[in-house]
Symmetry: C2
Subunit: 221 residues, 2 copies
DNA sequence: ACTTTACCCTACCGGCGGTACAGTTTTCCG
DNA sequence: CGGAAAACTGTACCGCCGGTAGGGTAAAGT
């Protein structure tokens, strides 16, 4: 749920991208940083173009208004997010065969990944747009919904393979349990930010991992 | 983590409050609604004074700037929140003696409480201010921190009494577990809003309840 | 060569947060 | 009842920011 990985691929694709697209990407990069730090409303176009070294006209050449910037940011964010989650949970599948262990490994890796972020998780644009600072259009809201449903599908698939082997010790709805991963990550980010304790997010993910373990493994009496 | 309760008390105290304070309260009421729906940045002073039936000068008589409005909103929100949490978890203590059961009942009541909100939980100002749309001053950030730490203390106290009786089935840090209540609520609100499914929050709280149950009760083999 | 892309420059508009300050009504309290 | 303090109103103004309009231009593709 973050960037920073595959910068090698980015650098390579940088070559084949046109100049326009590279400028656009630069704007998005700067904007995402600013939006996650200060919010969308507090991120002025002036500031973006200043840092990007372009003019106002240049900005509006790439984005017809601030709403389009928001949409582009969200698309980019969701895309990068998917990539990272793919990598994290694929790694679990490479290491072991048992679906429960795969999931537990994935959660551990995810926790380590967010732990290693020097100044904490930068935040999730989906949450930013939920506590919308402006009234976003339907497309943005739909994108948001789609992204969250994508997470559900991803984790639900994993859980389905787990329950085939391990009957849960408590009756739980698997969609809701799948959603709990997203819930804990989103909530953990809020808590980390509120307390100024970046590692909290990792802790909360590890707690969720404990829950999954308890739920699917037989306890010794 | 919401208002709507004790309107009787409000109506009673309405009498003894001066006119100024009543106007101030009205502004805050309108503002909270608007901020939770549209965000702080999208909530214009113009709009507030229009709905409150006062003038711009009137507004700035009560609040020296928008930041002070933010601070007052947060204070009010935290206060109401504390009241509700007090009621919810006190009810559990009235019904049974066992600390684990008390907590489980409290979580259930909390889930029902947020379930009953017709248009979903209005949102949490703490989260809004985390994904800050403007750069709030230190006082606001400190207030936010204090509120979250208050939640931790509250739930930690409950958990302490539980572990005295029930040894946990997994090694967990009790502060982190206490924080998980807040995490799930904050995350659940984000998820509810993103999906447009108000009941999700209640589901996630009930899932957390399952976790607590699994963690502290001996499982049958 | 020539079209398209990717900008720059200047000027302007309206909305909003915020200030200043003088004037007016309402409320409270002795 | 009277006077002071509280609770506003009215008007005028400032600067920032999002956004528009439109003309000009260097460089990249073809």
């Amino acid at each position: 749920m973050n960037q920073t990985i595959d910068q090698a691929a980015d650098a390579a694709s940088e070559q084949i991208k046109g100049k326009g697209e590279r400028t656009r990407d630069r704007i998005l990069e700067i904007a995402e940083n600013s939006v996650l730090n200060k919010g969308f409303g507090a991120t002025s176009i002036e500031e973006l173009i200043c840092e990007a070294g372009i003019t106002k006209s240049g900005f509006f050449y790439h984005f017809k208004d601030k709403n389009e910037l928001a949409r582009a940011l969200l698309l980019r964010h969701i895309e990068q997010d998917e990539k990272i989650l793919d990598q994290v949970f694929l790694r679990g599948q490479e290491l072991v065969d048992d679906p429960l262990q795969q999931f537990l490994i994935g959660l551990k890796i995810l926790a380590e990944l967010v732990e290693d972020l020097p100044q904490g998780h930068p935040g999730c644009l989906i949450a930013v747009y939920c506590y919308q600072e402006r009234l976003f259009d339907n497309e943005v809201r739909l994108l948001n919904r789609q992204a969250v449903l994508g997470w559900r599908t991803r984790f639900r698939a994993i859980l389905d393979r787990i329950v085939d082997v391990y009957p849960p010790n408590e009756p739980v709805d698997l969609d809701e349990l799948a959603d709990m991963v997203s819930t804990v990550v989103e909530g953990g980010i809020v808590m980390s930010k509120a307390l100024g304790r970046p590692h909290m997010l990792a802790n909360q993910i590890m707690l969720l991992r404990s829950f999954v373990k308890l739920l699917f493994t037989r306890q010794p009496v």
